[in-house]
């Protein structure tokens, strides 16, 4: 008799834990032949609110870590993902992808994490400035993370889109809540398992599965969310998000890149969710001294 396989329960990833949705609801994920692959949590507005609380709680610690530390943790995520590559490839195939593309997508996701790991302690040097003000002051501007970022992941991929949006946001010291692709949600929760074993502190990344149509209004109007990154193409949703954002002057970014291309990665994705802080400090009297020597 052949062995009966153990099936995995896909839950949410909130505050470093894997809870079921508080709503108790699910939606079935179907394969091409309309067979049920898995029951996926139909996340609720309350799940999102819980995730915002977790994220906000983690912000101080994550944003305050040294850039070097964040860099190593992002690299660690890549290390973990590399070792679990086959699992992700299987999931992508299960959700309708072909084998060659699946492998490419997972490898690109790993490389993208390494890419942003490298930026953690470098983007500051690209985007900072020392400003030569016309008075005796030392004046400099540096980027700082904007805070809690909500992410609506692209619908058309299970992993690469999600990774491409999360990586630059956390590389810059932000915390986030990502809503996974509704059509292809499997990799998102498995990616949560990778995060949970990569020294990423609880709450820095939270992942919810569910319906965009149900959650987007709430995500964009939540007043403790500082920015929203929208990875979809629906014009009505984009308008809604931008309107709701005005409630607390949320920063909204709409990305419609082809994430399967290596060009779809650059430090400006980090810069988007950064604030610029300028500091003035007096100098007793400025001058290039000691010119005699």
């Amino acid at each position: 008799m052949s062995r009966i396989e153990i099936l995995k329960t896909y839950k949410l990833y909130i505050g470093g834990q894997f809870p079921r949705t508080e709503s108790g609801r699910y939606y079935p994920l179907l394969d091409k032949k309309k067979n049920v692959i898995a029951d996926v949590c139909l996340g609720s507005r309350k799940d999102f609110r819980n995730a915002v609380v977790s994220a906000r709680g983690a912000f101080n610690s994550w944003g305050g870590r040294t850039a070097y530390n964040r860099s190593q943790i992002l690299y660690r995520i890549a290390e973990m993902l590399e070792k679990r590559k086959s699992e992700f490839i299987e999931e992508i195939i299960l959700q309708g992808g072909n084998k060659a593309d699946a492998k490419k997508e997972v490898e690109l996701s790993i490389d993208r994490l390494v890419y942003y790991a490298g930026w953690c302690d470098k983007f500051q040097q690209i985007f900072s400035s020392v400003n030569p003000v016309a008075s005796s002051h030392f004046n400099f501007s540096v980027p700082e993370p904007t805070g809690v970022v909500a992410i609506v992941a692209p619908q058309d991929s299970s992993l690469i889109g999600l990774v491409s949006l999360i990586a630059p946001i956390i590389a810059g010291g932000n915390v986030c809540i990502a809503l996974a692709s509704e059509k292809m949600p499997l990799c998102s929760i498995t990616f949560g398992e990778v995060l949970a074993t990569s020294d990423v502190p609880a709450g820095v990344v939270n992942i919810i599965t569910g319906k965009t149509s149900e959650l987007i209004s709430h995500m964009s109007s939540h007043k403790d969310v500082n920015a929203l990154v929208y990875g979809g193409k629906d014009q009505k949703e984009i308008k809604l998000v931008k309107e709701n954002a005005t409630l607390n002057v949320k920063r909204v970014f709409v990305y419609q890149n082809n994430w399967n291309k290596t060009e779809s990665q650059n430090p400006y994705f980090i810069f988007d969710t950064q604030e610029i802080k300028t500091t003035w400090h007096p100098i007793e009297n400025i001058g290039v001294g000691g010119a005699k020597y």
């Binding site: 850039a67 070097y68 860099s71 190593q72 690299y75 490389d111 390494v114 890419y115 790991a117 490298g118 930026w119 953690c120 302690d121 470098k122 040097q125 690209i126 030392f138 650059n266 430090p267 400090h281 007096p282 100098i283 007793e284 009297n285 400025i286 001058g287 290039v288 001294g289 000691g290 005699k292 020597y293």
Partner: protein, 494 residues
């Protein structure tokens, strides 16, 4: 002068009786060292062409640890050819992201083998295990990790320019931070697509050979980094080899000048990180205890074998007596001795040669009329050790003020005004670093704009980070290592 207080060798506070520390030696049984090391050329350990080896000595015990190949021009030639071959055939055209992956691997293996590397660094060089464990080795890993990330991002460092690698870099490193200096040199070179021939210092070759093993274990393609051991003969052969495109040197100003001259008729690029005689300036409004710690760290860190050591102390007159008293008290607590002991603050002087040089300067200082004071700690009978030393009433013209001693020897002067101290601090051919201690921010920035030095530490001292450019003004050399600016020496911008 207000520093002219009566000083005796009797400590005001008693730290010597009833305060013994139990010895806490780091064990050495987990390290792997060969009896003999060759060169590392084209991914292989290769015997020297001349067949000669030289001993490498533990300066704490004067006993031989291992012996190392003595390189000459033939070995250098072989290494340069291997580096050129690897450059043309493999490294130059490898995508940056892939080059970066090798560097990340190297960083990770250094982290994994950190304890072994720390112990070997201390055995071979005499620095305290606390420093090699907490500073040298972690920073070396961090440098590889940092520059790994740059490998595929160079176009952002140099906007509007096409970034090209330079070619084969010849790199010569000193004995004060052996593995760390290897990392400072190799990591940015490889990240930018160059290949390397490295010559470690003759008194501290062992961690470089362990690094060669790491390159091998990381799968780094053969020839990308080649290491030739030896003395000045190998160094000169490397600098003068027509097959190298760039020289990176850290060491004395004297040798730096010879190198600059040697390559004057060529197109070789160069960076020189040379000597220093840093001013550490304490103002009356400084947090005094914190400043005293800064003085201690500034001059006694790594036995004072630091090019950016705060070897000239300038104390504002009103607090001179207080600072010097506190400094002496603190010096009495410093533990000088077995570098492998985790309690040790000041380890062994790196070599007999360096020990003699320091002792000579102590004589010169006394002969010139400065007042020498040393802590009265116990030092081991064998091995090379020097008590922490200060010279009071030093003056600008003294050789102990003008020349780099590279030991735990501090020359102390006083000052009254900002203008005066700027004048005195800048009055040296060197310009590597300086320290400023004051609670007034506007004074800090006033001083940082006026001090002619490449690194200014304010209310801290001897801090290093891969993201932070390091290098000198004037005769302390040119070019920067670390940070975005540290990429510059290893690229051609088209």
């Amino acid at each position: 002068m207000s520093t002219k207080t009566k000083t005796t060798n009797k400590p005001k506070l008693d730290f010597t009786s009833g305060w013994g520390y139990t010895p806490s030696p780091e064990s050495t049984d987990h390290i792997k060292l060969e009896k003999r090391y060759d060169h590392f050329i084209n991914g292989q350990f290769v015997k020297p062409a001349g067949g000669k080896y030289f001993p490498t000595i533990n300066p704490a015990t004067e006993k031989q640890i291992s012996e190392v190949a003595l390189g000459d021009a033939r070995d250098i030639d072989k290494a340069v050819k291997a580096a050129r071959n690897a450059y043309e055939k493999v490294w130059k055209n490898m995508p940056g992201a892939e080059r970066g992956k090798y560097l990340y691997r190297i960083a990770r293996i250094i982290q994994e083998r950190a304890r072994e590397l720390s112990v070997i660094e201390t055995l071979d060089g005499g620095k305290s295990i606390r420093e090699s464990r907490d500073i040298d080795i972690p920073l070396a890993a961090a440098h590889f990790f940092y520059y790994a990330g740059w490998a595929d991002k160079l176009e952002y460092a140099f906007p509007n320019r096409k970034v090209e690698s330079v070619g084969v870099a010849g790199q010569i490193i000193p004995w004060n931070f052996p593995l760390l200096m290897a990392a400072w040199k190799i990591a940015p070179a490889l990240a930018c697509g160059n290949t390397v021939v490295l010559k470690p210092a003759e008194t501290t070759p062992l961690t470089a050979m362990k690094l060669a093993e790491i390159f091998r274990d990381a799968g780094l393609p053969p020839g990308v980094v080649n290491i030739v051991n030896g003395d000045g003969i190998a160094g000169a052969a490397l600098v003068n080899h027509p097959g190298i495109d760039k020289v990176a040197f850290t060491g004395s100003t004297d040798v730096g000048k010879i190198i600059q001259k040697a390559i004057a008729g060529t197109n070789k690029k160069a960076t020189l990180e040379l000597g220093g005689k840093a001013a550490n300036i304490i103002f009356e409004d400084a947090a005094i205890d914190q400043a005293v710690e800064g003085i201690i760290n500034g001059i006694f860190f790594n036995q004072g074998h630091v090019c950016c050591a705060g070897s000239r102390l300038f104390v504002q007159e009103g607090i001179a007596d207080l600072v010097i008293r506190k400094l002496k008290d603190r010096m009495q607590t410093l533990i000088v001795g077995d570098p492998m002991d985790k309690n040790t603050d000041i380890g062994a002087i790196n070599s007999k040669e360096q020990m003699n040089k320091i002792n000579e300067y102590l004589k010169i200082g006394v002969a010139e009329g400065a007042e020498m004071w040393q802590s009265n700690c116990q030092i081991p009978k064998t091995g090379y050790y020097c008590r922490p030393t200060i010279f009071l009433h030093a003056s600008q013209s003294h050789r102990i003020v003008q020349e780099e001693i590279f030991g735990p020897v501090l020359a102390i002067q006083t000052f009254r005004t900002v203008d005066e101290v700027v004048e005195k601090a800048n009055n040296t051919p060197f310009g590597l670093s300086a320290g400023v201690w004051t609670d007034k921010g506007s004074k800090i920035f006033n001083l940082t704009t006026k001090l002619r030095a490449g690194v200014i530490w304010a209310n801290t001292y001897n801090k290093f980070d891969p993201t932070s450019p390091f290098g000198g003004y004037k005769e302390s050399g040119f070019g920067r290592e670390g940070g975005l600016h540290g990429l510059m020496p290893y690229v051609n911008l088209k």
